[in-house]
């Protein structure tokens, strides 16, 4: 039980740090990657908090699809700018 508490503590601090990095990062693409990392860590947090349903959804949508869509949007914006 105490072990789990320590894991949760480390996880929460990491989540906060990565969330702050995602907000304060200047480069958009790096910000998106930080967002993806945040989703990945929150999946672990959800599993520790015994919410496997939420974890499954977050793993697929938060870290997979949303990241991909953000990256594609950035790609097409870059293309428009270079025209």
């Amino acid at each position: 039980m105490i072990m789990l508490d320590y894991i949760m503590l480390v996880l929460s601090i990491l989540l906060l740090v990565i969330a702050f990095l995602a907000v304060s990062e200047k480069s958009l693409i790096k910000s998106v990657i930080f967002l993806s990392a945040l989703s990945m860590l929150s999946v672990v947090a959800f599993v520790v908090m015994k919410a496997p349903d939420v974890a499954l959804t977050e793993a697929v949508i938060g870290s997979g699809l949303v990241t991909a869509l953000f990256v594609f949007t950035l790609l097409s914006i870059k293309k428009e700018e270079s025209k």
């Binding site: 349903d53 697929v60 699809l65 790609l75 097409s76």
Partner: protein
């Protein structure tokens, strides 16, 4: 300076939330809430006094062995219908913004996928689709269900789009599948109104808790949701990855 201000503001807001929730009579302390007043107890015990045993209990009030599913698709099915509608509207918005009536071509990516990547992604595609179908079919028994399952199917499509620069799905078929699945959800709800008493009522027998073929209309609805979500997000991915043909 700006960063410091944001940091102080965040800390301040956090403290505000903590102090507001502290000693608030609406939110009881941990362990002090009277669970008999809460509707969640009824959902967990499924309205019966005896324990629900996996694989043994016959005909409970709500069939699914997974409590989340029994709330999302059985007790609160109407909310799920609204959720599916929200997803439909956002997909429609993406199609309005990015789609066009004219000829479309694939967006050119900066890298050229080689042979190995193409073959490997084809092999992975089947496995991911299988996982998505499994998660959707077992939505009433294990964690997951229509939403994550459908999103998994869509992410398999995304893999094919990424690994093959000439791949394009037949989006017309997806659109038809999506509308059929959405309409069937409403029709099943209306059937509940006709056959039984209220909208989206579970009018089929619930069977044994934990069987694959159990809990009445819940698996059917979850399969429909899986198909709808999968085709919707696949359509969205296609909209993102295509662009208008340059004249």
């Amino acid at each position: 300076m700006k960063k410091l201000l944001a940091f102080v503001l965040t800390i301040g807001l956090g403290l505000l939330i903590i102090f507001a929730l502290d000693a608030n009579t609406t939110f009881d302390d941990f362990g002090f809430a009277n669970l008999a007043e809460r509707v969640s107890t009824r959902y967990i015990t499924k309205g019966s006094n005896v324990d629900i045993i996996f694989g043994q209990t016959l005909e409970p009030e709500s069939g699914p062995a997974n409590i989340v599913t029994s709330i999302v698709v059985d007790y609160r099915s109407f909310d799920t219908l609204g959720e599916v509608t929200v997803l439909f509207i956002s997909a429609l918005g993406v199609a309005l913004l990015l789609g066009s009536a004219g000829a479309q071509k694939r967006m050119e990516l900066n890298f050229k996928p080689n042979f190995m990547l193409r073959v490997g992604s084809r092999a992975l595609f089947g496995i991911i689709i299988m996982t998505g179908v499994y998660v959707t079919l077992h939505g009433h028994l294990t964690p997951g269900g229509g939403f994550p399952g459908g999103a998994m199917i869509a992410s398999a499509m995304l893999l094919l789009y990424l690994a093959d620069d000439e791949f394009r799905a037949r989006i017309k078929g997806f659109k038809i599948l999506e509308s059929i699945a959405g309409s069937l959800y409403v029709i099943i709800g209306l059937l509940g109104l006709v056959v039984a008493t209220y909208f989206l009522q579970n009018f089929l027998p619930n069977g044994t808790v934990g069987d694959l073929l159990s809990s009445g209309i819940v698996p059917i609805i979850y399969i429909l949701i899986g198909l709808k979500v999968g085709s919707e997000i696949s359509g969205m991915i296609d909209n993102f990855l295509t662009e208008e043909e340059a004249q």
